[in-house]
């Protein structure tokens, strides 16, 4: 039996007994039932599996479990109530929605470091993400909207 790997998943301390070489994506989806990160390509080419590790976007499909020991992992589930989710819904910025959980975490990471990103800056931050349905114009608007919402004084 492996020594459990401990990390923080969406604010909750977890100890996972999986083989430390298990892809983080499988640990999240199958061991922890956190299904927001999605398998898309397995090669860091589409962004569907994106999660935040200590706040930085990271591909869960290639990242192995051991590498998140002691770190914090945030998935789209951990963004419940975040301005990015509200803005994506307000703009109806999706069609099939398969890409959105990855896009949401990258957008949240962008807004944490850049409160007023330009359209170009938003596009650059989302460049690792593919959307096949063509919802990108709405996603770009939604992230700008989330930035504005975060800047507005709390009601």
């Amino acid at each position: 039996m492996n020594e459990p790997t401990r990390f923080i998943a969406n604010g909750r301390a977890v100890a996972v007994a999986d083989d430390p070489a298990t892809p983080l994506l499988d640990v999240l989806r199958n061991t922890l039932a956190i299904t927001g990160p999605r398998y898309g390509c397995g090669q860091e080419l589409c962004g569907a599996c994106m999660v935040l590790v200590d706040g930085t976007p990271s591909y869960a499909c290639t990242r192995e479990l051991w590498s998140v020991a002691g770190r914090t992992v945030t998935t789209v589930e951990g963004l419940a109530g975040h301005a990015v989710i509200a803005a994506l819904l307000a703009e109806q910025a999706g069609q099939c929605g398969y890409c959105l959980s990855g896009i949401a975490v990258s957008a949240a990471a962008l807004l944490a470091s850049n409160a007023e990103p330009s359209r170009t800056a938003i596009a650059a931050a989302l460049e690792p993400h593919l959307c096949r349905c063509g919802s990108q114009p709405r996603v770009l608007r939604a992230v700008a909207r989330a930035a504005a919402a975060l800047k507005a004084p709390a009601a």
């Binding site: 999605r38 398969y98 959105l100 770009l140």
Partner: protein, 702 residues
Amino acid sequence: MIPNALPKSLADNPMLDRWLHFRPDGRLRVAVGKVEIGQGITTALAQIAADELDVPLARIDMLSGDTEQAPDEGSTSSSQSIEVGGASLRLACAEVRALFVAEAARALNCPPDALAIAHGAITRAGRPTGQSYWTLAPRVALHVAATGAVAPKPRAAHAVIGRSIARRDLPAKLAGGGFVHDIQLPGMRHARVLRQPRPDARLARLDEAALRKAAGGPLDILRRGDFVALVADSETVARRAAIAATTLAVWDGLTPLAPEMAEAGWLRSQPSDDRTAGPPPAAHSGLLRHQASYSRPYIAHAALGPSCAVAWLQGGQLTLWSHVQGVYILRQALAEVLHLDAGAITVHHAHGAGCYGHNGADDAALDAAVIATLLPGTPIRLLWQREDEFGFEPLGSAMSIRLEATLGPDGLPADLLSEIWSAPHVGNTRAGANLLATRALPNPPPAIASNESSNPDPGAGTRNAAPYYAIPEHRLLHHFIPRGPVRTSSLRGLGALPNVFALECFLDELAAFSHTDPLDYRLAMLPDPRARAVLSRAAEMAGWARRGPSGSGTGLGLGFSRYKNRAGYAAVVAEVVVEREVRVARVWCAADAGLVINPDGLINQLEGGIVQAASWVLKEQVAFEAAGIASRNWDSYPILRFSEIPEIRTELLDPGDQPPLGVGECTMGPTAGAIGNAVAHALGARIRDMPFTRERILAAIG
């Protein structure tokens, strides 16, 4: 009213209780056969039901795509879900409403026209009567056939139709769930399939010991003929096995592909079934004749999430969750292949990634079903690897198109000849015999050839090949190649994008001969006022009048079509900048979809089509190598990325009281035409073959 007058979905499923069920818990379940594939259909259909019945949206539950409880509406395709499915639901709701009002009138001893319905409750002179759909439901028999005799509400009475209601499914998808991929069942195991690299390949050798070692955990290797399933409790183990198996398997009988077969022009050398329609061109001696050829290569549906299905055989009953476009069509195919009674199979639609046509969904469903029958009692989650999705999904066919026209004395075309070379876009592609696992199992039945028609109405390879413009004579030559080098099937718009691209580019070329502005040239042969309206409006939005001389490196081009020559109208203007590559900077679109159910959802579809069409035109081509499809991941099959997304402005024109028109595909052809024409304007030279690569830019300006 005769049953034939009912829209197809209602004629096929006339019993009203198949559509609507007022449940004892005070909710209304609306069951439909058209399924959610990212187009927002379940939201739009809920709006239709809410309006027709005067039931609040919040009290409606949608069930879509279910062989036990929902109507059989065939496949969700071809922009038919609102036109046919919506019209059917609307009529069913109107009729059910009338039955309830009649019953309420009896109960309240008053004439039916003294009653109204608000928020699901029966009112009289604006006051509650104590009756509602739910109080009356036990007394109203809905197990009766629709007659079509009750007219739906007039447009002026719509309160929910025409409003931008938020999608019902997106909140779950932004909370980590919502897809077939996310289903977890007790004892569920994970499966992958080792695929025949080419049709009819025979598995000569598979080193199972090496495979188990590579998998790194307990693995079941299930083999039936050349069908090999890899099943494990751990998805990690199943995936490792799948990756290793492709290199460990040795196959015989590979019919190789060659890189040049991936080019559309290769089809011209292939044996074809030639069909012609329309009169031969008349002799117009002495006038200018022009001809040009255009092409699109093979395109992948390239769903962002690979195909997936969950199957479970329990006590002889097979239950399947799949993201197919047609649950009943799949059930029939499964019954054929598995030698089961269709009644022993239940298919539930579950959401997948956007498919844009017939992709690997049906094949993955059969994979899962075969494995489930080999492991009775165990729920099986079958997922394709990304490389499987690109390697084995049916592709959108390459097309080569030659157009030829004679210009009359007025500078307008006096005739048009459209010559098309294409492999199938439709036709028995979902038959059980044609699914991938069937071909690998022992003693496969003969594959069924496509029965694709050449009639351009509504057309498959010939879709939109007949001009919507008033051109006096049109002749069509369709070189139908029933067996192309790879499996092909329906992809968004079928032949419409290549055909509209070719015609719209060709019209700009003819306009240049006539020294006429492309907009004026089109308007001179477009009698339909709705067509003229979208074209004029898109040009106005784009500031068409500012369009300067060609060759500046920046270009403005336009494209128009009415999808299938009878669905939604769209005109698109594209602004491009051509440097090392083509960049689409801005796009303006005007569309007319008749009655709009959900304007925001509709614009989402129009704009999604613009982005996807831009991606096809600028970037996409499936590559072949001897061993099969060479482009197996996003690095070798790039699509448009965020930094390349144009700014898009879209307007919906209101044509007055007109029926709804399908729009899922209507912007794609016009976008392709607009980009083709904008690039020609930017360069002063034309690129006629997709995709518009760096090499083709250089060749054009040569």
